[in-house]
């Protein structure tokens, strides 16, 4: 495979317009939130102060955006240069995912005009898990764009600048691996302090470890998912050999995750609750079946060479990690009698609109900038 090249072609296409329209709708509703308050747009309440903007946009969104982190870990820390062509598209998707998570936080917090207080040393509260998460995510958004910046510099033909950035890149790569290791685990730790409000099926001091392993695994899954989707939608060849090799990492990661997950449940004596038949128990079962699907598929070498099966495994892995996070933050969370939460229409549209913005942005970037590996010449 050759160096990354812009795809070229028309920017304004039917899918691009569709996703942009949804994004515009979301922006209108966000403006409404700024004028009329969170209650006018969301179904959030004092029992469920966090809804899908946190559970999906931030917690699931950044885990899905772990492709850049997972690939950097593999290529630069474990020195597997063969996967290099997958790094740039992964970084772009990560930069988008994290940036939009940052944007979501901004309109989710009530007192956004004071958000900079996080960075004022006299306000910073170092015992707060939220402080660590917010601080690390903010830093990481900058690091991701720096890691992606050589694409801009190639496009601008700024050779001197690119050389300097390339020379220092190892520093940003290292920080770019450290920060997600910290905040992806801490995103899980956030729920420890909710104590008894979180069902014992999820409430454990091991949430950070589970959150981290599943985030890295989701990182590899999203790289496979995006590579296949890009290949199909931009009518390119699927890079099956490299994806097949990458997918071999997933089963041992899921294995480790499940050993920790079930070891902990058995040790705490909480596993029985899974079979109580209620919503929480059933969601727990679905969540863990979704982890088993990619494990079963990708354990076989011949399956790993089959793009369809790779795709199904990747999707199932992403759903598994996403449902674990939804269960952790919403479905397993019960503040007490009388409290209910289901996202409102406007709230949901805002989340869908942001994902659409991400997709539209990705389409624009890969056409305009050198992101995807150039086509192979026979």
């Amino acid at each position: 495979m050759s160096e990354p090249k812009p795809l070229g072609g028309k920017i304004i296409t039917a899918p691009f317009l569709f996703f942009s329209a949804l994004a515009v709708l979301a922006v209108i509703l966000i403006i409404k939130r700024f004028f009329l308050g969170l209650g006018a747009v969301t179904n959030l309440n004092d029992g469920y102060p966090w809804g899908i903007w946190i559970a999906y946009d931030v917690v699931v969104g950044t885990a899905i955006a772990c492709g850049g982190y997972a690939m950097a870990l593999l290529v630069y820390i474990f020195n597997k240069g063969e996967f290099h062509p997958l790094v740039r598209p992964a970084l772009l998707a990560s930069a988008f995912g994290y940036t939009l998570a940052g944007v979501s936080i901004f309109f989710d917090v009530g007192r956004y005009w004071q958000a900079y207080n996080l960075f004022l040393p006299w306000y910073s509260q170092l015992n707060s898990v939220m402080f660590e998460v917010a601080f690390c995510i903010t830093m990481y958004i900058f690091v991701l764009w720096i890691e992606f910046s050589p694409s801009f510099m190639e496009w601008l033909k700024a050779k001197g600048l690119k050389k300097t950035v390339d020379r220092l890149m190892f520093v940003f790569i290292a920080i770019g691996v450290l920060l997600p290791t910290m905040h992806q685990s801490s995103l899980g730790t956030l729920m420890v302090i909710t104590g008894k409000k979180l069902s014992p099926l999820w409430q454990t001091p091991l949430i950070p470890l589970l959150a981290l392993i599943s985030a890295i695994t989701m990182g590899y899954a999203i790289v496979i998912f995006e590579a296949i989707i890009s290949a199909v939608s931009f009518k390119r060849d699927i890079e099956t050999p490299i994806l097949s090799k990458l997918s071999a990492l997933i089963p041992p990661l899921i294995g480790a995750y499940l050993v920790v997950r079930f070891g902990d449940l058995i040790w705490r004596g909480a596993l029985g609750m899974a079979f109580s038949g209620g919503l929480k128990g059933n969601m727990f079962i679905i969540e863990n079946l979704l982890f088993l699907v990619p494990l079963a598929i990708l354990a076989s070498k011949s399956n790993r060479k089959n793009p369809q099966k790779l795709f199904i495994a990747a999707v199932s892995m992403l759903l598994a990690g996403a449902l674990f996070r939804f269960d952790l933050f919403l479905i397993g969370f019960n503040p007490g009698e009388g409290w209910h939460y289901f996202p409102s229409f406007s709230e949901t549209i805002i989340t869908i609109g942001l994902v659409s913005l991400e997709i539209a942005g990705y389409i624009f970037f890969v056409k305009k900038f050198p992101v995807l590996p150039g086509a192979e010449h026979a």
Binding site: F34, L36, G37, L38, G39, D46, P49, W50, A72, Y76, I77, F78, G81, D108, V109, G110, R111, Y112, Q114, N117, L118, Y123, S124, Q125, N127, S128, V129, M130, F131, A134, D166, M169, F170, V171, I173, A174, V177, L178, T181, M182, S185, T189, L190, V192, I193, T194, G195, K196, P205, L206, P208, L209, L212, I216, A248, L249, L253, A256, P335, E337
Partner: protein, 324 residues
Amino acid sequence: MDIKRRDFLKVVAGSGLLLAAGESPAHAIARPPKTMPPEAVGLMYDSTICIGCKVCQKACKVSNDMPPEHTLRGPEMLDNVWDNPADLSGYTLNIVKAYKNGSGEVKNREDNGFAFIQRHCMHCVDPACVSACPVSALQKNPKTGVVTYNKKACIGCRYCQMACPFLIPKTEWDSPFPQIRKCQFCDHKFAEGGYSACAESCPTGATIFGPAKDLLQEAKRRVTLKPDSYYDYPVQRIDSRHRLKQKVAPYMNQIYGEKEVGGTQFIMLAALPFDKLGLPELGDRPDAALSEGIQHTLYKGMIAPAVVLAGLMFAAYRSTKNDK
């Protein structure tokens, strides 16, 4: 696949940070629970002598300059003249609720009886909200132990609401510039010798103010009182000379807040089990201690991340050099 899986997993699990948490039982990672400041102030609510008059609710609104709330609507409410909140909210920091069972004939009885309960901030000894707040907007006063809120610091992330086991901090959901609201024991009145408006206004001594340790002592005395005997209940403050002789109800042998989540500065007595009165059944350990314990075990004052970063830089340097 020539990546050594074992090495890979070792580094993932270890990345320096997580192994410690994975292998120790919860209470070994938790930091020690915090203790009450010696001069901490408190409130005590005795459900058995509360008459449900709600004058404390009104006094609270006046003292804290809060608007009335109208949750019951319709013509019978005379155009919403009365303050009638359904629960604590961004506009109601103190509320009295009623328990009623069956015919509701006898006060302080679980079956076919009724009882009242007052709800507001518990002022935990080791508050989860204070530990959760990323910007020090919620703080525990080192002298009085009052858990205070600073709107200038607050970013409105609502993690305090997620963290609080009593669901006390509330958001002003309908405001474009919302604050978090919660009871602060009327600490704005302390400087001029004042104290909590709910205690000051209570006609029966159901809510009284005083040093937290004196209140606990009083509570311990009350649970041993003989039912149907008479006791001189202090009114307004624990040290008050104004006392009311009232008949003793059969107390539950539990002081709610003595041990819950490491103790609270608002304690309660009742003749009914507290879960019937809507209070959560909680353990003795503060969740903040575990949460902070995990964080600080992982980060060891940022030394662990610094060491890991050095290793990562070395690895990344080596790999990027090979690229060229």
